[in-house]
């Protein structure tokens, strides 16, 4: 396993890249944050919870723990009960996610370029942008999880056993906050961290000189797992203190609450408007509008719950690359990313209740990291030919759906010809070409779909042109619940 070792020395490039990512992320997340000036989608539920915390009422029922709602409550307390005040805390969390991802990718791939690409991919995705600009819970848990993974990789790459417990404690606090924000998904995150820590300690014990005795390794594994589980539970309990103070009479109510949440979720129906099965998420078959307004001047204002199609469709090849590289190179980073992505998708298999596409976000995050790693390998000449091709493949549907069969086909042919020429005449530049073309297309598509993610007025024709999938069944982006 290649996990051990420091990340490359901090350079001016890192400073410039992380600074630029902070500024761009802030601008994208805070620009016209108060628009629309009404609660969007589940914001009403979150705001009701937040108000109940602020006013000392009994919190209304929610399937998810109160972590993110407490954050919205704090935001409303600080900035007022207005749209900007509702969303400010989440915008801060969404902004923080970008530099955190830079640091995480830098550790995972030991590369500044991979880190920069990862930050850029995050900036170019719509789902993360929308989640950062609305007072809902998704961006809070994604950011906490990313921060916890960063601490996890600090632990994994730390050769000094003396400081490892501190890193584990910090990671566990973040995982506890993650668990106190989102039910079910957070349990997968904690399990992933436990597995990675266990694997790290076992590998570390066997590779140290002198080799650690099995008893000592077992002792350290038990200690690490005990520490993580206990701290996570402590933080989880601490976040629920608001419920304790307001309505609960004892630990029995804590148990009863969780039983109620479980029963409600088990009894939810299998279908619901705008719901989609988990297997359709990577293909982005059914994104839908969180909010839509058809103005009388002919413009449409929309906030879509969907992402950048190129990035979403490229995540699957990236995970394929991560899985193969993880197996062949015995690379812990690649295995971590592939396993994380699969775990966050596989967790939905046993569930029969209706699901929404935004539940793909934790898996998408792993996919985008893997994509950054794969593009970095392309740039540095470390990628094989098939990897170039599978990364270029998602461009084809984007070109055809965006430009039409003729122009899309023509552009795809041009790209293929340039790639073939570079492959034959200038070896080494073909990978760079793949990376450049991909990133340019991602930025262009981001600019194209940007109005759909922030509710910017679009002409009806502009809106229709952006609805690439408009079939009658699941593969449709324009299904919108008109029943009020």
């Amino acid at each position: 396993m290649d996990a051990k070792g420091y990340s490359p020395p901090w350079s001016r490039f890192d400073s410039v890249a992380i600074s630029a990512s902070i500024v761009v992320a802030t601008a994208l997340r805070f620009w016209h944050l108060g628009s629309p000036s009404e609660p969007v989608y589940d914001e009403t539920k979150v705001l009701r919870q937040a108000q109940s915390f602020l006013r000392g009422w009994r919190p209304p029922y929610s399937s998810h723990p109160p972590g993110a709602k407490l954050m919205v409550a704090l935001s409303v307390f600080l900035f007022g009960n207005c749209p900007w005040g509702w969303r400010a805390a989440n915008a801060v969390m969404g902004t923080a996610l970008v530099p955190i991802t830079y640091l995480l990718a830098r550790r995972l791939f030991h590369s500044k370029l991979a880190a920069s690409i990862a930050a850029a991919l995050l900036l170019c995705d719509g789902m993360l942008l929308v989640a950062s600009r609305l007072a809902m819970i998704n961006i809070v848990y994604i950011t906490l999880a990313a921060w916890a993974y960063l601490m996890l990789w600090c632990f994994v790459q730390n050769p000094a056993a003396r400081t490892q417990p501190v890193q584990l404690a910090a990671m566990s606090i973040l995982l506890g906050l993650f668990a106190a924000t989102k039910a079910a998904i957070s349990e997968v995150g904690v399990s992933l961290a436990l597995l990675t820590v266990t694997l790290t300690l076992i590998v570390d014990g066997h590779t140290r000189v002198p080799v650690q005795p099995p008893k000592l390794i077992a002792r350290r594994v038990i200690g690490a797992c005990g520490l993580i589980v206990a701290v996570v539970l402590l933080v989880y309990l601490a976040v629920f203190v608001t419920y304790y103070w307001s309505v609960w009479r004892g630990i029995g109510d804590f148990v009863a609450y969780h039983r109620r949440v479980l029963n409600r979720n088990l009894n939810l129906p299998t279908s619901f408007p705008d719901a989609s099965p988990f297997w359709s998420w990577p293909l982005m078959l059914h994104q839908y509008a969180y909010w839509k307004k058809d103005l009388l001047n002919g413009a449409a204002e929309v906030i879509m719950c969907g992402g950048n199609p190129l990035l979403w469709w490229a995540v699957l090849p990236a995970i394929l690359i991560a899985s193969i590289r993880g197996c062949t190179q015995k690379s812990m980073s690649w295995i971590f990313l592939a396993a994380g992505y699969m775990a966050y998708l596989a967790m939905w298999i046993p569930l029969r209740r209706y699901l929404f596409i935004y539940s793909y976000m934790p898996a998408l995050y792993f996919g985008l990291l893997a994509l950054a790693g794969a593009l970095d390998k392309c740039w540095n000449g470390g990628a094989r030919r098939w990897e170039h091709l599978v990364l270029l493949a998602p461009l084809l549907p984007c070109l055809i759906l965006g430009l039409g069969v003729v122009w899309g086909g023509f552009t795809a042919c041009s790209i293929s010809i340039v790639y073939l020429l570079l492959m034959r005449r200038a070896e080494g530049y073909d990978g760079r070409f793949v990376c450049l073309i991909f990133m340019s297309a991602a930025v262009l598509l981001f600019a194209y779909f940007f109005p759909l993610w922030i509710g910017m007025p679009l002409s009806q024709s502009g809106y229709t042109a952006r609805m690439w999938l408009h079939g009658q069944g699941l593969a449709s982006w324009i299904e919108y619940d008109t029943v009020r």
Binding site: S7, W10, R12, D14, S15, S19, A20, I22, V23, T26, F30, L33, G34, S37, E38, L47, R48, Q51, G56, W57, R58, N81, C82, P83, W84, A88, V92, L103, R107, M151, W153, C154, N158, R162, T163, P165, R220, I222, G223, C225, G226, L227, V229, V231, L233, L237, Y244, S246, G250, I251, F254, K293, D294, L295, L296, N297, G298, Q460, T482, R484
Partner: protein, 267 residues
């Protein structure tokens, strides 16, 4: 201290030698703070402007920028025309009667972010023909509450007057005023006239005999006022019963012990 653990990077050591890294990141954070501040101020000024005027005229300005269509209607099927007496006529044009099967109409959303009471006034008139299935109704939605005023065929020439007071809920301080139509096809598939439609923020409470709806009070009653932060602190508040924290305290103690033991095992 190990160089790796602080921020997950070895920049702390490099940074001490090269202040460029810290200075640049500090400048980026400062720029981000300025962007946040500007965004806040821009939004604040809009809110304050709305609050200072204390009146929202639903029929002022460019109507097509504020009013939207919903349901099966599209913007091209709806026209807003100002009439000489200051009223506004809404006309629905439809070739296909299917628009009427879905809940369709026009709407206006108003943010009521300054807490307190608001007076809703206006006059509403619509073409109604019960035998042909043509009609319209004015709806005011806020949170889960709605008020419906239906146009009547008996009152030919006279409109429905609207005058009531509303205090929005804390969690959804927004009101949506919509006019739902149903009807047939042609240039006058549906028609309504609005006049003097206003939302005015009032100081104090509404007149006792006037129709009023206190959604804030309803929300408070629904969620139950089980405690209030001002009635004592979390440790010594008069509503605190130490007994109910016993189970949690034991759990915390147990988990604390596990943390201690695990730490020793790991170290």
């Amino acid at each position: 201290m190990d160089r790796d653990w602080r921020v997950g990077l070895n920049m702390t050591q490099c940074g001490s030698r090269n202040p460029f890294a810290h200075a640049l990141i500090a400048a980026a954070v400062a720029t981000a703070a300025i962007i946040c501040g500007l965004s806040y101020l821009a939004d604040r000024s809009c809110c304050e402007k709305a609050a200072s005027s204390s009146e929202i005229d639903l029929l002022a300005g460019n109507l097509t920028d504020h009013w939207s269509v919903y349901g099966a209607l599209s913007a091209t099927q709806v026209s807003f025309n100002r009439i000489d007496d200051g009223s506004v006529e809404v006309r629905i044009r439809a070739d296909d009667p299917s628009w009427s099967t879905a809940n369709s109409g026009v709407s206006y959303t108003a943010g009521l972010f300054v807490p307190g009471w608001y007076e809703f006034t206006g006059e509403f008139k619509a073409d109604v023909n019960d035998s042909q299935g043509i009609g319209a109704q004015l709806e005011v939605h806020s949170s889960r509450w709605r008020l419906i005023t239906k146009a009547h065929s008996r009152r030919k020439g006279r409109g429905e007057k609207i005058n009531f007071y509303l205090r929005p809920s804390y969690s959804d301080p927004v009101a949506e005023i919509s006019c739902r139509f149903w009807g047939g096809t042609g240039d006058s598939a549906g028609k309504a006239v609005f006049r003097n439609m206003r939302i005015v923020r009032i100081a104090g409470s509404p007149p006792p005999k006037a129709p009023h709806f206190d959604l804030a009070e309803q929300e408070e009653a629904r969620l139950g006022k089980s405690w209030h932060p001002r009635e004592g602190n979390i440790l010594l508040g008069r509503r605190t019963r130490p007994g109910r924290f016993r189970g949690a305290a034991v759990t915390v103690l147990l988990l604390g012990m596990i943390v201690g033991i695990s730490w020793r095992l790991l170290a």
